[in-house]
C-alpha cells in the first residue's frame, strides 16, 4: 500500500442543484471507466464515484484521457442539472457515502448560495490572436521607427547593429502597448454583458498541444468570462465585430462549467481530507 491509496473514498466531480420535481437519478461513466452516481442532501447533490486510490501517473496521454473523462461527467451533469460547481481533477474524499453527505450537509449553505449565484451562467473562453504581418504593417508608420530605419541605412555595421536592436525594442514596446490597449477596450465592452471576467494572461493552457505556438500570429488576449445564457448572444455579436477586423482571429469556446469562477470552498476541521 502506498500513501496514495486508502480503504474507501469518493471521487468528487461537481455539486449540482437538484430539480424540485423530476427524479434525481443520474449515472454516467467517469474517470477510468468508473460508474458515477449522485449523493443528495436537501436540494443539492454531489456527483461521485467510489475509489480507493489517487489518480496518479506520469503517462501524459493517460492524464489527458482522465481529464477528458472528468470533464465529460461535469458536462453531462451540467446538461442534466444546470450550472454545476466543478471540482478539480482528482479531488477525493476519504470515507464512504455517509461521510460525503455529512460534509455536504456542513457546506450546504455555501454551495446553495454559489449555485444560486451562478444559475444559468456559463464560462466562455476568448482567445484573441492577431496576424503578425498585419500588426507590423500597422506599426511601421510609427515616426520613431521610420527615423530609426533611416539611420540604420546610413550607418556602418557596428552602429547599425545597435540601431537595429533599438528598432526591435521600440517595435516590441509598441506591440505590447497596442495589445494592452486593445485588450482593455475589449474588456470594457464585455464587462456590462458578463457576470465576471478574468484575464488569463499568457500562461499556456494545461496540456495545450505543443504546436499551438504559431509564429505568424501574436496572442493579444486570453480571457475567461462568466456570462448568463441570456447574454450569450450579445457576447457572440461583440466578438463577431472584433473578428471582422482583418488580421484578427478569435478562438471562442464554451459554454463550459464555470471552472475559472468556482469559489474556493474553505477547508476546516470538519472538512474532508481532499487530496
Amino acid at each position: 500500500m502506498t500513501e496514495s491509496s486508502f480503504e474507501s473514498g469518493r471521487y468528487l466531480y461537481c455539486v449540482v442543484q437538484l430539480p424540485e420535481t423530476e427524479p434525481t437519478e443520474f449515472s454516467t461513466t467517469g474517470v477510468d471507466g468508473e460508474q458515477t452516481y449522485v449523493l443528495t442532501v436537501g436540494e443539492i447533490g454531489v456527483v461521485v464515484h467510489e475509489c480507493n486510490a489517487l489518480y496518479d501517473t506520469s503517462d501524459v496521454d493517460l492524464v489527458r484521457k482522465w481529464l477528458l473523462e472528468h470533464q465529460n461527467v461535469i458536462d453531462t451533469a451540467g446538461e442534466r442539472f444546470g450550472t454545476p460547481i466543478p471540482f478539480r481533477f482528482d479531488t477525493i474524499l476519504r470515507g464512504d457515502d455517509e461521510r460525503v453527505r455529512t460534509w455536504l450537509e456542513s457546506e450546504q449553505d455555501t454551495f446553495t448560495s454559489h449555485l444560486d449565484a451562478m444559475a444559468g451562467c456559463w464560462e466562455y473562453r476568448i482567445d484573441v490572436q492577431r496576424d503578425e504581418a498585419a500588426l507590423e504593417e500597422e506599426l511601421s508608420n510609427d515616426e520613431q521607427l521610420v527615423e530609426l530605419e533611416e539611420r540604420i541605412a546610413e550607418s556602418t555595421a557596428g552602429t547599425s547593429h545597435l540601431l537595429e536592436k533599438q528598432y526591435e525594442q521600440r517595435f516590441e514596446t509598441l506591440k505590447q502597448q497596442q495589445r494592452a490597449d486593445r485588450t482593455a477596450a475589449l474588456t470594457e465592452q464585455l464587462r456590462p454583458m458578463v457576470r465576471d471576467l478574468q484575464d488569463l494572461g499568457q500562461k499556456p493552457a494545461a496540456l495545450a498541444p505543443a504546436d499551438e505556438t504559431d509564429e505568424t500570429v501574436t496572442r493579444e488576449a486570453r480571457l475567461a468570462v462568466l456570462a448568463h445564457e441570456e447574454q450569450q448572444r450579445n457576447v457572440d455579436e461583440l466578438l463577431d465585430e472584433v473578428a471582422a477586423d482583418p488580421g484578427v482571429e478569435i478562438r471562442y469556446t464554451g459554454p463550459w462549467p464555470p471552472y475559472t469562477f468556482t469559489p474556493t470552498i474553505e477547508a476546516n476541521d470538519s472538512n474532508p481530507d481532499t487530496a
Binding site: 466543478p86 555595421a157 547599425s160 545597435l162 533599438q166 500562461k203 469556446t253 471552472y259 475559472t260
Partner: protein, 109 residues
C-alpha cells in the same frame, strides 16, 4: 514549470540551455544600456561603432554555440516561459488575481 534535468544524459544540454539563456538575458540588458547611452549622447560615434561591433560579434558567437550544441529551440522556449512568467507577475502586481482554482477545459478535438 520547466524542469532542468540534472541527472543522466541530458544533464549537459539542460545546463548549457540554462547558461546560454542567462548569457542572452545579460547581453540584452547590456545592449539596452548601450542604446540608452547612445541616445542620450554619452558616447562618441567611434565608441558607438566599437560597442556595436562587439555586441554583434558576441551575438554571432552565442548563435554559433547554440547551433553547435543544438539548443536553439530549448533556449527560445525557456526565454519564452520566463517572459510569460515575468509578464504575468507584473500583471499580478497591478491587479491581484481572484481567489479560486482554475481548471482549463480541454477541447476534445
Amino acid at each position: 514549470m520547466t524542469q532542468i534535468d540534472i541527472d543522466g544524459e541530458s544533464a549537459r544540454d539542460g545546463l548549457m540551455t540554462l547558461v546560454m539563456t542567462v548569457v542572452e538575458l545579460l547581453v540584452d540588458v547590456m545592449e539596452r544600456e548601450a542604446i540608452r547611452r547612445m541616445e542620450s549622447g554619452d558616447l562618441t560615434d567611434e565608441e558607438i561603432e566599437r560597442v556595436g561591433t562587439q555586441f554583434a560579434a558576441l551575438e554571432a558567437e552565442i548563435e554559433s554555440i547554440k547551433e553547435d550544441e543544438e539548443i536553439d529551440e530549448p533556449v527560445d522556449q525557456l526565454r519564452e516561459r520566463l517572459d510569460g512568467l515575468v509578464a504575468d507577475a507584473v500583471r499580478t502586481v497591478d491587479e491581484p488575481p481572484q481567489q479560486g482554482y482554475s481548471h482549463n477545459p480541454i477541447e476534445d478535438d
